[in-house]
């Protein structure tokens, strides 16, 4: 099984837009992220347990959103990229089987100490328009200038 397909391979590297991508937070993805981060809390997979907490369904770890944003920034930035800063406020909970749309725009470019640095604004949105992240920001080092 090959579940990891490069989705942005046709995109112009380092263009002024982080290619928009829809990620479906299915239970498999939640369980894989939980496993990869040693987070075995029942929040993320146990539907009966979360109902006892008056929550409708298992939910996405807030840090998974940051991990997804970093992942797509690294893919956009190319092989020499390294994310230096990432900040976001989470405005709503993302539940299992929700889809989220990740998008971003370059807001500045500069050369610092011989390295190309870009800053971006980031958004994470549910398909119905609900903002999960409205005001994310990132600083990414794209490698030697």
């Amino acid at each position: 099984m090959n579940i990891a397909q490069p989705k942005a391979s046709g995109a112009v590297p380092n263009g002024d837009t982080l290619p928009s991508e829809t990620f479906r937070c299915d239970l498999t993805s939640l369980v894989m992220y939980a496993g990869a981060t040693w987070d075995f809390h029942r929040y993320h997979y146990d539907a009966a347990f979360v109902k006892t907490l008056d929550m409708p369904a298992p939910f996405v770890d807030g840090q998974m959103i940051g991990a997804l944003l970093s992942s797509r920034l690294m893919r956009w930035g190319g092989p020499n990229a390294f994310v230096r800063k990432l900040g976001y406020r989470q405005r709503t909970t993302v539940y299992v089987d929700d889809s989220i749309v990740i998008a971003g725009k370059v807001t500045s470019r500069a050369t610092e100490n011989g390295r190309q640095i870009a800053t971006l604004n980031l958004t994470v949105t549910k398909p119905d328009g609900t903002a999960v992240v409205r005001d994310g920001t990132a600083t990414i080092d794209l490698g030697p200038a």
Binding site: A4, P6, Y33, G66, A67, M74, P79, F82, L86, G143
Partner: protein
């Protein structure tokens, strides 16, 4: 207005908790973390590819080290959780995440054995019409490797409901 922040709770500002990983990461966890994000970027898994980049060897996905459960080596609690938490003196321990601010100082390597220091930076409250008085707990985690090099800082806010 009644405050939910007692003197006992306020005393937690500035408290620290330190954990050191029992071993270095190795490379496989980087690939596992990327796979969970449907990400096959070879910079996390292919040493030959990485050698041709400024990184010279595979690196961890940027926020990988800020998921500190793997560093702690603690037993499961009754809900399966093994990570860090502050046993704060509050009647309600239900919280939601308010957000994260990550700063990555240098890429994390397979050979890194990490120490994380968690610290409570601030505790404050805000009263909302809908949800009542919410308590905001701002924590910071600083991750260093076995050479004392600062790898990453994660500042996060958890919001406790009444």
């Amino acid at each position: 207005m009644t405050t939910r922040i007692t003197e006992d709770l306020k005393a937690w500002i500035g408290r620290e908790a330190t954990y050191t990983a029992p071993e270095e990461f190795g490379r496989a966890p980087f690939r596992y973390f990327a796979m969970a994000l449907h990400d096959d970027n070879p910079i996390y898994s292919d040493p030959e590819f990485a050698k041709k980049t400024v990184h010279d060897d595979v690196i961890a996905p940027p926020t990988f080290v800020c998921e500190t459960n793997q560093i702690m080596n603690q037993p499961l609690d009754e809900n399966g959780y093994i990570g860090h938490h502050w046993p704060l003196p509050m009647t309600s321990t239900r919280f939601i995440r308010g957000g994260n601010d990550y700063e990555m100082l240098q890429p994390v390597r397979a050979s890194d054995r990490v120490t994380v220091v968690w610290k409570i930076k601030d505790i404050y409250e805000r009263t909302t019409r809908k949800l009542g008085t919410l308590i905001f707990v701002v924590s910071e985690a600083r991750c260093t490797n076995q050479r004392g090099e600062l790898l990453a800082i994660n500042r996060e806010t958890n919001i406790y409901s009444p």
